[in-house]
Protein backbone atom coordinates (compact mmCIF):
# COMPACT_ATOMS: atom_id res chain seq x y z
CA UNK A 1 0.00 0.00 0.00
CA UNK A 2 2.61 2.52 1.11
CA UNK A 3 4.91 1.51 -1.74
CA UNK A 4 2.10 2.14 -4.19
CA UNK A 5 1.75 5.59 -2.64
CA UNK A 6 5.43 6.28 -3.29
CA UNK A 7 5.00 5.43 -6.98
CA UNK A 8 1.89 7.57 -7.37
CA UNK A 9 3.51 10.43 -5.52
CA UNK A 10 6.47 10.47 -7.90
CA UNK A 11 3.99 10.95 -10.73
CA UNK A 12 1.86 13.61 -9.03
CA UNK A 13 4.97 15.45 -7.86
CA UNK A 14 6.26 15.79 -11.40
CA UNK A 15 2.99 16.44 -13.20
CA UNK A 16 0.82 18.21 -10.60
CA UNK A 17 2.80 19.74 -7.72
CA UNK A 18 5.73 20.98 -9.78
CA UNK A 19 3.69 22.71 -12.52
CA UNK A 20 1.53 24.36 -9.83
CA UNK A 21 4.58 25.66 -7.95
CA UNK A 22 5.92 27.06 -11.23
CA UNK A 23 2.82 29.24 -11.72
CA UNK A 24 3.21 32.88 -10.62
CA UNK A 25 -0.01 32.76 -8.54
CA UNK A 26 -0.63 35.08 -5.58
CA UNK A 27 1.15 33.80 -2.48
CA UNK A 28 -2.16 33.27 -0.65
CA UNK A 29 -3.27 30.77 -3.27
CA UNK A 30 0.04 28.90 -3.11
CA UNK A 31 -0.30 28.73 0.66
CA UNK A 32 -3.84 27.34 0.47
CA UNK A 33 -2.89 24.77 -2.16
CA UNK A 34 0.09 23.65 -0.10
CA UNK A 35 -2.07 23.38 3.03
CA UNK A 36 -4.57 21.24 1.14
CA UNK A 37 -1.91 19.04 -0.37
CA UNK A 38 -0.15 18.63 2.98
CA UNK A 39 -3.27 17.07 4.48
CA UNK A 40 -3.52 14.55 1.66
CA UNK A 41 0.14 13.61 1.83
CA UNK A 42 0.15 12.29 5.38
CA UNK A 43 -1.90 10.20 7.78
CA UNK A 44 -3.06 12.57 10.50
CA UNK A 45 -2.79 11.19 13.99
CA UNK A 46 -4.81 11.90 17.13
CA UNK A 47 -2.37 13.08 19.73
CA UNK A 48 -2.35 15.82 22.37
CA UNK A 49 -1.69 19.23 20.78
CA UNK A 50 -1.62 22.65 22.40
CA UNK A 51 -0.69 26.13 21.21
CA UNK A 52 1.41 28.34 23.41
CA UNK A 53 3.02 31.74 23.13
CA UNK A 54 6.77 31.10 23.26
CA UNK A 55 8.94 34.21 23.28
CA UNK A 56 6.13 36.11 21.54
CA UNK A 57 5.70 33.50 18.79
CA UNK A 58 2.63 31.22 18.66
CA UNK A 59 3.97 27.68 18.85
CA UNK A 60 2.31 24.34 18.23
CA UNK A 61 3.35 21.73 20.78
CA UNK A 62 2.55 18.07 20.20
CA UNK A 63 2.98 15.72 23.18
CA UNK A 64 3.36 11.96 22.84
CA UNK A 65 2.48 9.69 25.77
CA UNK A 66 5.19 9.92 28.49
CA UNK A 67 7.28 12.67 26.80
CA UNK A 68 11.00 12.30 27.49
CA UNK A 69 12.23 15.63 26.19
CA UNK A 70 11.76 18.35 23.58
CA UNK A 71 12.53 18.96 19.94
CA UNK A 72 12.33 22.41 18.37
CA UNK A 73 11.31 21.84 14.75
CA UNK A 74 11.35 24.57 12.09
CA UNK A 75 9.02 23.90 9.20
CA UNK A 76 9.88 24.35 5.56
CA UNK A 77 8.05 26.00 2.66
CA UNK A 78 10.61 28.28 1.04
CA UNK A 79 10.27 30.92 3.81
CA UNK A 80 6.95 31.75 2.10
CA UNK A 81 4.63 28.72 2.42
CA UNK A 82 3.91 26.24 5.18
CA UNK A 83 3.02 26.45 8.85
CA UNK A 84 3.01 24.25 11.95
CA UNK A 85 -0.29 22.87 10.60
CA UNK A 86 1.01 21.86 7.17
CA UNK A 87 3.85 20.04 8.89
CA UNK A 88 1.68 18.40 11.56
CA UNK A 89 1.98 15.03 9.83
CA UNK A 90 5.75 15.11 10.01
CA UNK A 91 6.00 16.54 13.52
CA UNK A 92 3.29 14.33 15.03
CA UNK A 93 4.73 11.13 13.59
CA UNK A 94 8.18 12.21 14.75
CA UNK A 95 6.86 13.02 18.24
CA UNK A 96 5.28 9.59 18.62
CA UNK A 97 8.29 7.80 17.16
CA UNK A 98 10.86 9.61 19.29
CA UNK A 99 8.88 10.07 22.48
CA UNK A 100 9.73 13.80 22.41
CA UNK A 101 7.45 16.82 22.53
CA UNK A 102 7.82 18.66 19.25
CA UNK A 103 7.59 22.46 19.34
CA UNK A 104 6.85 24.10 15.98
CA UNK A 105 6.76 27.90 15.98
CA UNK A 106 4.64 29.91 13.56
CA UNK A 107 7.53 32.16 12.53
CA UNK A 108 6.78 35.15 10.29
CA UNK A 109 6.98 34.42 6.57
CA UNK A 110 7.99 36.34 3.48
CA UNK A 111 7.05 38.30 1.47
CA UNK A 112 5.12 40.15 4.23
CA UNK A 113 8.04 39.70 6.63
CA UNK A 114 11.37 39.32 4.81
CA UNK A 115 14.65 38.31 6.41
CA UNK A 116 15.56 38.66 9.28
CA UNK A 117 12.02 38.29 10.68
CA UNK A 118 12.08 34.48 10.57
CA UNK A 119 15.49 33.92 12.20
CA UNK A 120 14.63 36.60 14.77
CA UNK A 121 11.41 34.76 15.68
CA UNK A 122 13.22 31.45 15.88
CA UNK A 123 15.82 32.95 18.19
CA UNK A 124 13.10 34.35 20.48
CA UNK A 125 11.49 30.92 20.69
CA UNK A 126 14.80 29.21 21.42
CA UNK A 127 15.56 31.67 24.20
CA UNK A 128 12.13 31.18 25.81
CA UNK A 129 11.98 27.39 25.47
CA UNK A 130 12.74 25.13 28.42
CA UNK A 131 16.20 23.63 28.02
CA UNK A 132 17.74 21.39 26.96
CA UNK A 133 16.17 20.56 23.60
CA UNK A 134 16.96 18.94 20.28
CA UNK A 135 16.91 21.05 17.12
CA UNK A 136 15.72 20.26 13.63
CA UNK A 137 14.09 21.54 10.48
CA UNK A 138 13.19 20.69 6.91
CA UNK A 139 14.06 22.61 3.75
CA UNK A 140 13.86 26.36 4.50
CA UNK A 141 13.29 25.33 8.13
CA UNK A 142 16.63 23.54 7.91
CA UNK A 143 18.17 26.89 7.00
CA UNK A 144 16.59 28.50 10.08
CA UNK A 145 17.73 25.59 12.25
CA UNK A 146 21.32 25.97 11.05
CA UNK A 147 21.27 29.75 11.54
CA UNK A 148 20.01 29.20 15.08
CA UNK A 149 22.56 26.43 15.62
CA UNK A 150 25.48 28.68 14.70
CA UNK A 151 24.22 31.37 17.09
CA UNK A 152 23.55 28.88 19.88
CA UNK A 153 27.03 27.38 19.55
CA UNK A 154 28.58 30.85 19.75
CA UNK A 155 26.50 31.53 22.87
CA UNK A 156 27.59 28.20 24.39
CA UNK A 157 24.07 26.80 24.39
CA UNK A 158 24.37 23.81 22.06
CA UNK A 159 21.22 21.76 21.41
CA UNK A 160 21.31 18.05 22.29
CA UNK A 161 21.32 17.00 18.64
CA UNK A 162 20.50 18.28 15.17
CA UNK A 163 18.15 16.69 12.61
CA UNK A 164 17.83 18.12 9.13
CA UNK A 165 15.82 17.24 6.04
CA UNK A 166 17.18 18.71 2.78
CA UNK A 167 18.16 22.07 4.28
CA UNK A 168 18.54 25.24 2.21
CA UNK A 169 22.05 26.37 3.14
CA UNK A 170 23.19 28.75 0.42
CA UNK A 171 21.10 31.70 -0.75
CA UNK A 172 23.86 33.42 -2.74
CA UNK A 173 23.23 34.06 -6.43
CA UNK A 174 24.16 30.91 -8.32
CA UNK A 175 24.94 30.25 -11.98
CA UNK A 176 24.88 26.46 -12.04
CA UNK A 177 21.15 25.71 -11.94
CA UNK A 178 21.39 22.98 -14.60
CA UNK A 179 21.08 20.39 -11.82
CA UNK A 180 17.43 21.27 -11.33
CA UNK A 181 16.59 19.05 -14.31
CA UNK A 182 16.65 15.93 -12.10
CA UNK A 183 14.57 17.66 -9.42
CA UNK A 184 11.05 16.24 -9.16
CA UNK A 185 9.31 18.87 -7.09
CA UNK A 186 10.91 22.30 -7.03
CA UNK A 187 10.87 24.35 -10.26
CA UNK A 188 13.62 26.91 -10.73
CA UNK A 189 11.10 29.74 -11.00
CA UNK A 190 9.66 28.90 -7.59
CA UNK A 191 13.09 28.85 -5.96
CA UNK A 192 13.91 32.24 -7.44
CA UNK A 193 10.62 33.74 -6.28
CA UNK A 194 11.07 32.41 -2.73
CA UNK A 195 14.63 33.68 -2.58
CA UNK A 196 13.61 37.14 -3.81
CA UNK A 197 10.67 37.33 -1.40
CA UNK A 198 12.82 36.31 1.56
CA UNK A 199 15.98 38.30 0.88
CA UNK A 200 14.28 41.30 -0.76
CA UNK A 201 17.37 43.52 -1.37
CA UNK A 202 19.94 41.36 0.40
CA UNK A 203 22.44 39.27 -1.55
CA UNK A 204 22.53 36.12 0.56
CA UNK A 205 26.13 36.62 1.69
CA UNK A 206 25.23 37.06 5.35
CA UNK A 207 25.84 33.89 7.36
CA UNK A 208 22.35 34.32 8.84
CA UNK A 209 21.07 33.95 5.27
CA UNK A 210 23.46 31.28 4.01
CA UNK A 211 24.51 29.17 7.00
CA UNK A 212 26.98 27.27 4.83
CA UNK A 213 29.17 30.32 5.53
CA UNK A 214 28.75 30.04 9.32
CA UNK A 215 31.00 28.46 11.95
CA UNK A 216 29.83 25.51 14.04
CA UNK A 217 32.34 25.00 16.86
CA UNK A 218 31.32 22.19 19.22
CA UNK A 219 28.42 21.08 17.04
CA UNK A 220 26.42 18.15 18.51
CA UNK A 221 25.68 15.01 16.42
CA UNK A 222 23.74 15.64 13.20
CA UNK A 223 21.38 13.44 11.23
CA UNK A 224 20.75 14.55 7.66
CA UNK A 225 18.10 13.21 5.25
CA UNK A 226 18.39 14.06 1.54
CA UNK A 227 16.63 12.95 -1.62
CA UNK A 228 18.98 11.66 -4.29
CA UNK A 229 19.38 14.05 -7.24
CA UNK A 230 17.13 16.71 -5.75
CA UNK A 231 18.09 20.32 -6.36
CA UNK A 232 19.13 20.71 -2.73
CA UNK A 233 21.31 17.60 -2.59
CA UNK A 234 24.52 19.64 -3.17
CA UNK A 235 23.38 22.04 -0.41
CA UNK A 236 23.02 19.09 1.93
CA UNK A 237 26.41 17.69 1.00
CA UNK A 238 28.03 21.10 1.47
CA UNK A 239 26.65 21.57 4.97
CA UNK A 240 27.52 17.97 5.90
CA UNK A 241 31.15 18.72 5.00
CA UNK A 242 31.06 22.02 6.86
CA UNK A 243 29.67 20.43 10.02
CA UNK A 244 32.09 17.52 9.85
CA UNK A 245 34.97 19.95 9.41
CA UNK A 246 33.78 21.57 12.64
CA UNK A 247 34.16 18.21 14.36
CA UNK A 248 30.53 17.08 14.36
CA UNK A 249 29.46 13.49 13.77
CA UNK A 250 27.21 13.66 10.71
CA UNK A 251 25.00 10.74 9.79
CA UNK A 252 23.83 11.17 6.22
CA UNK A 253 21.04 9.26 4.51
CA UNK A 254 20.33 9.82 0.81
CA UNK A 255 17.04 8.26 -0.26
CA UNK A 256 16.71 7.35 -3.95
CA UNK A 257 13.64 8.02 -6.07
CA UNK A 258 11.97 10.40 -3.65
CA UNK A 259 10.96 14.05 -4.07
CA UNK A 260 12.34 16.88 -1.96
CA UNK A 261 11.24 16.74 1.72
CA UNK A 262 9.64 13.31 1.27
CA UNK A 263 9.34 12.61 5.05
CA UNK A 264 6.30 14.95 4.94
CA UNK A 265 4.40 11.87 3.68
CA UNK A 266 4.70 10.09 7.04
CA UNK A 267 2.08 7.42 7.48
CA UNK A 268 1.44 7.05 3.76
CA UNK A 269 4.88 6.45 2.31
CA UNK A 270 7.12 3.60 3.33
CA UNK A 271 10.20 5.70 2.56
CA UNK A 272 8.87 8.50 4.78
CA UNK A 273 8.12 6.12 7.63
CA UNK A 274 11.64 4.75 7.46
CA UNK A 275 12.99 8.32 7.54
CA UNK A 276 10.88 9.06 10.63
CA UNK A 277 12.34 5.96 12.27
CA UNK A 278 15.92 6.93 11.44
CA UNK A 279 15.39 10.44 12.80
CA UNK A 280 13.70 9.09 15.94
CA UNK A 281 16.59 6.69 16.52
CA UNK A 282 19.05 9.58 16.20
CA UNK A 283 17.04 11.67 18.66
CA UNK A 284 16.75 8.83 21.16
CA UNK A 285 20.45 8.08 20.93
CA UNK A 286 21.27 11.64 22.02
CA UNK A 287 18.86 11.97 24.89
CA UNK A 288 20.72 13.01 28.07
Amino acid sequence: MSQVFDRIRRFTTRYVDRPILALPLPVGIHRSLFALQAKLMTTEVEVAVRWQDVGGVPTRIVSPPRPKGRLLWLHGGGFVLGSPDTHAGLTDHLALASGLEVWTPRYRRAPEHPWPAAPDDVRSVAQAMPRPFHLGGDSAGGNLALVLLAQALTDGRAPLSVTLISPVVDLRERQDDSRTDAEMLLPRAFLHRCRAAYLRDADGRDRRQSPVLAEFPGCPPVHLELSAREVLEPDGMAIAERLEAAGATVHLHVEPKTPHDYPLCAGRSSAADMAILRMAKHLEAHQP
Binding site: M1, V47, G99, S270, A280
Partner: protein
Protein backbone atom coordinates in the same frame (compact mmCIF):
# COMPACT_ATOMS: atom_id res chain seq x y z
CA UNK B 1 11.94 -25.42 7.95
CA UNK B 2 10.00 -26.19 11.12
CA UNK B 3 7.04 -24.28 9.66
CA UNK B 4 6.06 -23.54 6.06
CA UNK B 5 3.67 -21.09 4.50
CA UNK B 6 1.02 -22.79 2.39
CA UNK B 7 -2.22 -21.73 0.74
CA UNK B 8 -4.21 -23.14 3.66
CA UNK B 9 -2.10 -21.44 6.34
CA UNK B 10 1.04 -21.90 8.42
CA UNK B 11 1.98 -25.59 8.20
CA UNK B 12 4.22 -27.87 10.23
CA UNK B 13 5.43 -30.77 8.05
CA UNK B 14 7.00 -32.77 10.87
CA UNK B 15 3.75 -32.75 12.84
CA UNK B 16 1.32 -32.54 9.89
CA UNK B 17 -0.74 -29.75 11.41
CA UNK B 18 -1.60 -26.12 10.67
CA UNK B 19 -1.61 -23.08 12.93
CA UNK B 20 -4.59 -20.69 12.55
CA UNK B 21 -5.31 -21.94 8.99
CA UNK B 22 -7.71 -19.94 6.83
CA UNK B 23 -8.87 -22.90 4.74
CA UNK B 24 -10.35 -26.14 6.15
CA UNK B 25 -7.67 -28.64 7.21
CA UNK B 26 -7.44 -31.92 9.10
CA UNK B 27 -5.69 -30.64 12.23
CA UNK B 28 -5.63 -27.00 13.35
CA UNK B 29 -3.81 -25.48 16.32
CA UNK B 30 -5.57 -22.22 17.21
CA UNK B 31 -3.97 -19.24 18.96
CA UNK B 32 -7.23 -17.55 20.01
CA UNK B 33 -10.94 -17.28 19.32
CA UNK B 34 -11.13 -14.26 17.01
CA UNK B 35 -12.81 -15.05 13.73
CA UNK B 36 -9.76 -14.48 11.53
CA UNK B 37 -7.73 -17.01 13.54
CA UNK B 38 -10.35 -19.58 14.64
CA UNK B 39 -12.29 -20.48 11.49
CA UNK B 40 -14.97 -22.99 10.64
CA UNK B 41 -14.51 -26.36 9.04
CA UNK B 42 -11.39 -27.99 10.46
CA UNK B 43 -11.56 -31.66 11.45
CA UNK B 44 -9.65 -31.38 14.76
CA UNK B 45 -8.93 -28.30 16.82
CA UNK B 46 -6.36 -27.79 19.57
CA UNK B 47 -6.44 -24.62 21.69
CA UNK B 48 -5.75 -23.55 25.27
CA UNK B 49 -8.28 -24.61 27.88
CA UNK B 50 -8.98 -20.93 28.52
CA UNK B 51 -9.73 -20.25 24.83
CA UNK B 52 -11.95 -23.32 24.45
CA UNK B 53 -15.30 -22.09 25.80
CA UNK B 54 -15.40 -19.04 23.53
CA UNK B 55 -14.42 -21.12 20.52
CA UNK B 56 -17.21 -23.61 21.27
CA UNK B 57 -19.63 -20.72 21.70
CA UNK B 58 -18.63 -19.27 18.35
CA UNK B 59 -17.95 -22.36 16.26
CA UNK B 60 -20.52 -24.72 17.78
CA UNK B 61 -19.93 -28.44 18.20
CA UNK B 62 -16.32 -28.79 17.05
CA UNK B 63 -13.81 -31.53 17.82
CA UNK B 64 -11.77 -29.42 20.23
CA UNK B 65 -8.98 -30.62 22.46
CA UNK B 66 -7.70 -28.37 25.24
CA UNK B 67 -4.12 -27.83 26.38
CA UNK B 68 -2.77 -25.95 29.40
CA UNK B 69 -0.28 -23.11 29.03
CA UNK B 70 3.20 -24.61 29.11
CA UNK B 71 2.03 -28.22 28.68
CA UNK B 72 4.23 -30.20 26.26
CA UNK B 73 2.47 -32.14 23.54
CA UNK B 74 4.12 -34.31 20.92
CA UNK B 75 2.41 -34.19 17.53
CA UNK B 76 4.17 -36.39 14.99
CA UNK B 77 7.83 -35.50 15.29
CA UNK B 78 7.13 -32.00 16.58
CA UNK B 79 6.80 -30.83 20.17
CA UNK B 80 4.32 -28.01 20.73
CA UNK B 81 3.62 -25.76 23.70
CA UNK B 82 1.24 -22.83 24.12
CA UNK B 83 2.34 -19.61 25.87
CA UNK B 84 0.29 -16.57 26.94
CA UNK B 85 0.00 -13.83 24.30
CA UNK B 86 -1.75 -11.18 26.46
CA UNK B 87 -4.21 -10.39 23.65
CA UNK B 88 -7.54 -11.73 24.96
CA UNK B 89 -8.35 -14.30 27.66
CA UNK B 90 -6.89 -17.65 26.64
CA UNK B 91 -4.87 -16.26 23.72
CA UNK B 92 -1.61 -18.04 23.03
CA UNK B 93 1.61 -17.98 21.09
CA UNK B 94 2.40 -21.42 19.76
CA UNK B 95 5.93 -22.77 20.07
CA UNK B 96 6.94 -25.60 17.75
CA UNK B 97 10.18 -27.52 18.18
CA UNK B 98 11.64 -30.05 15.75
CA UNK B 99 15.15 -31.49 16.07
CA UNK B 100 16.27 -28.67 18.35
CA UNK B 101 15.02 -25.87 16.10
CA UNK B 102 12.33 -23.68 17.61
CA UNK B 103 9.76 -21.55 15.80
CA UNK B 104 7.07 -19.46 17.47
CA UNK B 105 3.81 -18.23 15.94
CA UNK B 106 2.69 -15.15 17.84
CA UNK B 107 -0.96 -15.04 16.82
CA UNK B 108 -2.10 -11.61 17.99
CA UNK B 109 -0.35 -10.33 21.09
CA UNK B 110 0.03 -7.45 23.52
CA UNK B 111 3.13 -7.15 25.67
CA UNK B 112 1.71 -4.87 28.37
CA UNK B 113 -0.38 -6.59 31.03
CA UNK B 114 -4.03 -5.68 31.62
CA UNK B 115 -6.61 -6.83 34.17
CA UNK B 116 -8.13 -9.38 31.84
CA UNK B 117 -5.75 -11.60 29.87
CA UNK B 118 -2.94 -13.88 30.98
CA UNK B 119 0.17 -11.64 30.70
CA UNK B 120 2.38 -12.01 27.61
CA UNK B 121 5.36 -14.29 28.05
CA UNK B 122 8.39 -13.93 25.76
CA UNK B 123 9.49 -17.25 24.25
CA UNK B 124 13.06 -17.81 23.01
CA UNK B 125 13.16 -19.11 19.46
CA UNK B 126 15.15 -19.25 16.24
CA UNK B 127 12.34 -17.91 14.06
CA UNK B 128 9.42 -15.73 15.11
CA UNK B 129 6.28 -15.36 13.04
CA UNK B 130 4.81 -12.11 14.28
CA UNK B 131 1.80 -9.96 13.67
CA UNK B 132 2.51 -6.25 13.13
CA UNK B 133 -0.99 -4.78 13.02
CA UNK B 134 0.33 -1.57 14.56
CA UNK B 135 3.82 -1.70 13.09
CA UNK B 136 4.38 2.05 12.81
CA UNK B 137 5.89 4.23 15.53
CA UNK B 138 2.80 6.45 15.77
CA UNK B 139 1.17 3.54 17.54
CA UNK B 140 2.42 4.29 21.04
CA UNK B 141 -0.17 3.40 23.67
CA UNK B 142 -0.84 5.40 26.83
CA UNK B 143 -0.70 3.64 30.19
CA UNK B 144 -3.93 1.95 31.28
CA UNK B 145 -4.35 4.36 34.20
CA UNK B 146 -4.52 7.31 31.80
CA UNK B 147 -6.86 5.48 29.44
CA UNK B 148 -9.12 4.54 32.37
CA UNK B 149 -9.25 8.17 33.42
CA UNK B 150 -10.18 9.21 29.86
CA UNK B 151 -13.02 6.68 29.75
CA UNK B 152 -14.33 7.59 33.19
CA UNK B 153 -14.21 11.33 32.57
CA UNK B 154 -16.12 10.90 29.33
CA UNK B 155 -18.74 8.63 30.90
CA UNK B 156 -19.19 10.94 33.90
CA UNK B 157 -19.55 13.96 31.61
CA UNK B 158 -22.18 12.17 29.54
CA UNK B 159 -24.03 11.25 32.69
CA UNK B 160 -23.91 14.85 33.96
CA UNK B 161 -25.33 16.00 30.61
CA UNK B 162 -28.18 13.48 30.78
CA UNK B 163 -26.72 11.40 27.96
CA UNK B 164 -25.84 7.76 27.55
CA UNK B 165 -22.23 6.97 26.71
CA UNK B 166 -22.00 4.31 23.99
CA UNK B 167 -18.65 2.73 23.22
CA UNK B 168 -17.81 0.50 20.28
CA UNK B 169 -15.59 -2.41 21.27
CA UNK B 170 -15.43 -5.83 19.66
CA UNK B 171 -17.24 -8.49 21.59
CA UNK B 172 -14.37 -10.80 22.56
CA UNK B 173 -11.64 -9.03 24.49
CA UNK B 174 -12.03 -5.32 23.94
CA UNK B 175 -15.53 -5.10 25.42
CA UNK B 176 -14.42 -6.90 28.58
CA UNK B 177 -11.21 -4.86 28.69
CA UNK B 178 -13.29 -1.66 28.72
CA UNK B 179 -15.45 -3.14 31.48
CA UNK B 180 -12.37 -3.76 33.63
CA UNK B 181 -11.06 -0.24 32.96
CA UNK B 182 -14.13 1.83 33.86
CA UNK B 183 -15.37 2.77 37.31
CA UNK B 184 -18.67 0.86 37.76
CA UNK B 185 -19.77 3.26 40.49
CA UNK B 186 -20.48 5.92 37.83
CA UNK B 187 -23.54 4.05 36.60
CA UNK B 188 -24.91 0.85 35.13
CA UNK B 189 -23.20 -0.95 32.24
CA UNK B 190 -25.51 -2.04 29.44
CA UNK B 191 -24.31 -4.51 26.84
CA UNK B 192 -25.26 -5.48 23.31
CA UNK B 193 -26.26 -9.15 23.07
CA UNK B 194 -23.06 -10.07 21.26
CA UNK B 195 -21.01 -8.64 24.11
CA UNK B 196 -23.16 -10.14 26.84
CA UNK B 197 -23.03 -13.61 25.24
CA UNK B 198 -19.25 -13.49 25.43
CA UNK B 199 -19.41 -12.07 28.97
CA UNK B 200 -21.48 -15.07 30.04
CA UNK B 201 -19.00 -17.51 28.56
CA UNK B 202 -16.06 -15.79 30.23
CA UNK B 203 -17.80 -15.42 33.60
CA UNK B 204 -18.66 -19.13 33.51
CA UNK B 205 -14.97 -19.97 33.18
CA UNK B 206 -14.09 -17.71 36.09
CA UNK B 207 -12.97 -14.47 34.43
CA UNK B 208 -13.95 -11.70 36.88
CA UNK B 209 -16.03 -8.97 35.22
CA UNK B 210 -18.15 -6.19 36.69
CA UNK B 211 -21.93 -6.54 36.50
CA UNK B 212 -23.56 -5.77 33.18
CA UNK B 213 -27.12 -5.79 31.86
CA UNK B 214 -28.08 -7.18 28.47
CA UNK B 215 -30.04 -4.76 26.29
CA UNK B 216 -33.23 -6.38 25.03
CA UNK B 217 -36.32 -5.13 23.24
CA UNK B 218 -37.89 -4.61 26.68
CA UNK B 219 -35.01 -2.65 28.19
CA UNK B 220 -36.43 0.44 29.88
CA UNK B 221 -34.07 3.16 28.76
CA UNK B 222 -35.47 5.66 31.26
CA UNK B 223 -34.59 3.36 34.13
CA UNK B 224 -30.89 3.54 33.29
CA UNK B 225 -29.99 7.21 32.95
CA UNK B 226 -26.34 7.84 32.26
CA UNK B 227 -25.51 4.22 31.51
CA UNK B 228 -22.41 3.08 29.67
CA UNK B 229 -23.45 1.07 26.63
CA UNK B 230 -20.92 -1.40 25.22
CA UNK B 231 -21.54 -2.77 21.73
CA UNK B 232 -19.55 -3.98 18.74
CA UNK B 233 -18.50 -1.03 16.53
CA UNK B 234 -20.81 -2.21 13.75
CA UNK B 235 -23.84 -1.97 16.07
CA UNK B 236 -23.09 1.66 16.92
CA UNK B 237 -23.50 2.62 13.29
CA UNK B 238 -26.93 1.01 12.88
CA UNK B 239 -30.43 1.60 14.24
CA UNK B 240 -29.74 -0.37 17.39
CA UNK B 241 -28.69 2.73 19.33
CA UNK B 242 -31.69 4.83 18.40
CA UNK B 243 -33.91 3.94 21.33
CA UNK B 244 -31.44 5.36 23.80
CA UNK B 245 -32.17 8.91 22.65
CA UNK B 246 -29.31 11.29 23.38
CA UNK B 247 -26.08 9.34 23.11
CA UNK B 248 -22.41 10.26 22.92
CA UNK B 249 -20.49 7.69 20.88
CA UNK B 250 -16.93 6.55 21.27
CA UNK B 251 -14.81 3.76 19.85
CA UNK B 252 -12.04 1.87 21.63
CA UNK B 253 -9.38 0.79 19.17
CA UNK B 254 -5.73 1.27 18.35
CA UNK B 255 -6.94 2.66 15.02
CA UNK B 256 -8.28 5.70 16.88
CA UNK B 257 -4.70 6.97 16.76
CA UNK B 258 -5.49 7.83 13.12
CA UNK B 259 -7.75 10.84 12.76
CA UNK B 260 -9.19 9.69 9.45
CA UNK B 261 -10.41 6.40 10.87
CA UNK B 262 -12.32 8.07 13.70
CA UNK B 263 -13.90 10.56 11.28
CA UNK B 264 -15.00 7.83 8.89
CA UNK B 265 -16.58 5.92 11.78
CA UNK B 266 -18.38 9.12 12.80
CA UNK B 267 -17.52 8.53 16.46
CA UNK B 268 -17.42 11.60 18.68
CA UNK B 269 -14.63 10.19 20.80
CA UNK B 270 -11.78 7.88 19.95
CA UNK B 271 -10.07 5.96 22.74
CA UNK B 272 -6.68 4.61 21.73
CA UNK B 273 -7.11 1.28 23.51
CA UNK B 274 -5.74 -1.80 21.82
CA UNK B 275 -5.33 -5.50 22.50
CA UNK B 276 -2.31 -5.53 20.19
CA UNK B 277 1.30 -4.63 20.82
CA UNK B 278 2.22 -1.06 19.96
CA UNK B 279 5.41 -0.20 18.08
CA UNK B 280 7.61 -0.50 21.14
CA UNK B 281 5.84 -3.68 22.22
CA UNK B 282 6.51 -5.31 18.86
CA UNK B 283 10.16 -4.34 18.95
CA UNK B 284 10.57 -5.47 22.57
CA UNK B 285 8.87 -8.78 21.91
CA UNK B 286 11.00 -9.55 18.89
CA UNK B 287 14.19 -8.64 20.70
CA UNK B 288 13.27 -10.85 23.66
CA UNK B 289 12.68 -13.90 21.48
CA UNK B 290 16.34 -13.77 20.45
CA UNK B 291 15.17 -14.85 17.00
CA UNK B 292 17.34 -14.24 13.95
CA UNK B 293 14.56 -14.79 11.45
CA UNK B 294 11.34 -12.82 11.67
CA UNK B 295 8.28 -13.18 9.48
CA UNK B 296 5.69 -10.38 9.54
CA UNK B 297 2.18 -11.66 8.82
CA UNK B 298 -0.34 -8.81 8.95
CA UNK B 299 -0.38 -5.07 9.50
CA UNK B 300 2.18 -2.51 8.30
CA UNK B 301 4.33 -5.36 7.00
CA UNK B 302 6.38 -3.55 4.32
CA UNK B 303 7.71 -0.80 6.57
CA UNK B 304 8.12 -3.16 9.50
CA UNK B 305 10.14 -5.61 7.41
CA UNK B 306 12.43 -2.79 6.17
CA UNK B 307 12.89 -1.62 9.74
CA UNK B 308 13.74 -5.10 11.04
CA UNK B 309 16.17 -5.64 8.16
CA UNK B 310 17.91 -2.39 9.06
CA UNK B 311 18.15 -3.65 12.66
CA UNK B 312 20.02 -6.72 11.44
CA UNK B 313 17.23 -9.32 11.37
CA UNK B 314 16.62 -11.74 8.53
CA UNK B 315 13.08 -10.42 7.98
CA UNK B 316 10.40 -11.29 5.44
CA UNK B 317 6.74 -10.56 4.82
CA UNK B 318 4.32 -13.48 4.64
CA UNK B 319 0.92 -13.11 3.01
CA UNK B 320 -1.81 -14.40 5.33
CA UNK B 321 -5.52 -13.81 5.74
CA UNK B 322 -5.35 -12.43 9.27
CA UNK B 323 -6.96 -9.07 9.82
CA UNK B 324 -5.49 -7.69 13.01
CA UNK B 325 -7.69 -5.32 15.00
CA UNK B 326 -11.19 -6.31 13.95
CA UNK B 327 -12.60 -2.79 13.74
CA UNK B 328 -13.96 -3.26 10.25
CA UNK B 329 -13.88 -7.03 10.16
CA UNK B 330 -16.88 -9.22 10.85
CA UNK B 331 -17.31 -9.70 14.59
CA UNK B 332 -18.86 -13.17 14.56
CA UNK B 333 -21.23 -12.51 17.39
CA UNK B 334 -22.19 -9.05 16.27
CA UNK B 335 -23.63 -10.44 13.08
CA UNK B 336 -26.13 -12.54 14.99
CA UNK B 337 -29.65 -11.17 14.59
CA UNK B 338 -30.48 -8.88 17.46
CA UNK B 339 -34.05 -10.14 17.64
CA UNK B 340 -32.78 -13.53 18.80
CA UNK B 341 -31.14 -11.88 21.77
CA UNK B 342 -34.44 -10.90 23.28
CA UNK B 343 -35.29 -14.59 23.51
CA UNK B 344 -32.21 -15.81 25.34
Amino acid sequence: MVLEFKDEGIYCPSGDFYIDPWRPVERALITHGHADHARWGHRYYLATEAAGPVMRHRLGDIALDGIAFGEKRQIGDAIVTFHPAGHVPGSAQIRVEHRGEVWVVSGDYKTVADRLSEPFEPVRCHAFITECTFGLPVFDWEDDAILSAQLNTWWQTCRDNGQHAAIGAYSLGKAQRVMTMVDPSIGPILTHGAVENTNEVLRAQGVPLPASVRVTRDTDVKATPGALIIAPPSALAGSWLRKFGSVSTGIASGWMRLRGVRRRRAAERGFVISDHADWRGLNDAIRETGAERVFATHGYTATFKDWLTEQGYDAAVVETEYEGDALDAADTDADAPTEAETVT
